[in-house]
Symmetry: C2
């Protein structure tokens, strides 16, 4: 039976995530993976989960297992509102931060619309924008019209690891105000700072036109699939109506657990440990790159987040190199996947949060060896 005729006009624009495809085929535990954006399992408050569950059920009873409000349970919206200093009415809970990106795409984008974005750009966002048949251009490009919003990860960018300076953020705001467009400030890593000083968020600079996306994946655990959007009520109202169709409401027990974890201070206590853990891993990876990488290879020094970005000598092709790397037991994501035009084939993204410290040295050494032979 030929099913192809059944698919909507959007379907040919669906991109597969090369990262998700890797995970579909490879047993991660068997290799040294610098590929994904997975947090370290040691940072999860695993031991606390059973007692957290019991506490939530004791406190909220069967309400925690029933359908909940589409905006999210009030208790979770309140702790987020308090933490970030905004009214509860400006907080919408999402079933993952990825859903935040998707629902914004759905509510704002028509086919042919333009998104100005980081370049390289987060793959999940690129997938979502493309799936609505939008065009994605670099912020620095001059494009004609139909620009709907600017999409940026200002803190510890995925994939580049870079953090925007205050001046760069102000420039984003200036452009958005001049063009009278919205800004989506994707902020999943902001709480994970290992050095340097926090910079004002874009939401703080332009709250009238910014939708800021938050995530519990890196500060609690990704298995909960919980995120949030902070933004103007008029925009959240349409996102709320759209979300009724998407899944009625976010997972309820998970929301109460997140509310309890964040509200009780346990999240902050866990965050201190998480930051110490990731700072050590970042520093280790940086020192190993210094030690093993051949000359001509450069990389970013991320102040936080989960990634750094390698630039190899011109002519080295990280896409072509990938199969060999995987067969020898090390994985990364080729940098060109993060470029809308597939350029920059001499770059790669490395994740430093997931791999055990013990595996990191042999992994980087192996990668350096593969790169040395490709140069």
């Amino acid at each position: 039976m030929d099913y192809s005729k059944f698919f909507s006009a959007d379907v040919p624009s669906f991109l597969r995530s090369p990262v998700r495809e890797i995970f579909r085929k490879v047993d991660l535990s068997a290799i040294c993976s610098f590929a994904g954006g997975y947090p370290a399992a040691v940072t999860f408050p695993t031991d606390q989960i059973p007692s957290l569950t019991a506490k939530v059920l004791e406190k909220y009873g069967t309400k925690a297992l029933q359908y909940g409000a589409t905006q999210g349970v009030p208790e979770l919206r309140e702790v987020i509102a308090r933490r970030y200093g905004v009214p509860v009415s400006q907080v919408q809970i999402t079933t993952s931060s990825q859903q935040g990106i998707d629902v914004c795409s759905r509510v704002f984008l028509n086919p042919g619309d333009v998104v100005l974005a980081d370049n390289p750009v987060y793959l999940g966002a690129l997938q979502s924008f493309k799936a609505y048949r939008a065009e994605v251009h670099s912020i620095s490009e001059t494009v004609a019209s139909n620009i709907k919003f600017i999409y940026v990860i200002p803190d510890f960018n995925n994939p580049s690891g870079k953090t925007m300076t205050l001046e760069e953020r102000e420039e984003v705001v200036r452009v958005a105000r001049e063009l009278d467009i919205l800004i989506i400030e994707d902020s999943p890593y902001r709480e994970l700072r290992y050095s340097g000083e926090p910079v004002k968020t874009i939401r703080e600079l332009a709250s009238e036109r910014t939708l800021q996306l938050g995530s519990f994946s890196k500060i609690f655990a990704p298995g909960f699939r919980l995120g949030w959007i902070i933004g103007p009520e008029e925009l959240l109202e349409q996102i709320y109506v759209c979300k009724q169709c998407l899944d009625l409401c976010p997972p309820v027990l998970d929301q109460y657990m997140a509310a309890e974890f964040m509200g009780s201070g346990a999240l902050d206590a866990n965050l201190v440990k998480t930051i110490a853990e990731y700072r050590r891993r970042r520093d280790l990876m940086l020192s190993l790159l210094e030690k093993y990488m051949p000359s001509g290879v450069s990389w970013t020094y991320p102040e936080g987040g989960l990634f750094l970005w390698l630039t190899l000598p011109e002519g080295v092709d990280t896409v072509a190199m990938y199969d060999e790397a995987l067969s020898r037991g090390v994985a990364y994501v080729a940098g060109s996947f993060f470029y809308t035009d597939g350029s920059h084939r001499n770059t790669m993204r490395l994740n430093f949060s997931f791999v055990d410290e013990a595996k990191m040295e042999p992994g980087i050494k192996l990668l350096a060896d593969i790169i040395s032979h490709a140069v």
Copy 2:
């Protein structure tokens, strides 16, 4: 600031769920609500949840808190595949059955496409189809072209409470094969049968073109927001790619809990109690309707599910009557909301699963009184 210009062309087609809007404004515990499709909290395995959490973490460790596969965790796909006698490759886990409807809409519908559906039809499905600017027609209507799929709830329909006979299902299959279109068999209530004999599913009759949607909301707890799609691999493959954009993967800890609950037999044990509970509530509501409703009012006798459907004498307007009902402390959903043309204003949907048995008699008595005055 005027935000209206930012919205996509789909947004004007977003419908608000009148049911969700009721829940947004009214404290359900203060009234007698026959409105929602909420399961009874007594059917939730509340006492088992903490030990289930502990067991899952012991068995799967931090994997239960990490990102998972987009198709769902293998353990949950396997227990579902086993239960329904299909290969694992034909099972996609969804973050709620509502997401199943939405992702099918997204993957199959273009603006202007036609869906043939139950009439009256499940509101969440109507919302989703309309949000993609599809037209929704009754199966019995003759429409010209662009028909993409048939959408039906064959078992204990929401809202009508009716169950399709084998002949009616075969007719759906005949039409689908003649037009060469897909069938979405929405099946959230099938396991909740209180009398009569099961009828073959549409999937069993036409597996080559049927996507069957299942849900944990009525057999475990809706707070978990977990459902599944069983269907041809070629269709699931595109749904999988789409789901990467939607939320990367379904909630992972919740999936392991569902897998453990279903796989261990605890779900079936709980289901026996749930069915007994709902059978009693259904029978009670039917006897109360018999006792209190004025002549000229008729209703369906559901063999399962959560709803029955009242038809009042012509001229009685359940939309107009609603505010009075709510102010006097009883809620229902006006039947016309379930019709794409807003007709049948003399009908209403009553839910018998949510209201405590003790509240049911005063509730039905009150409703009968309001109806009597409106006749």
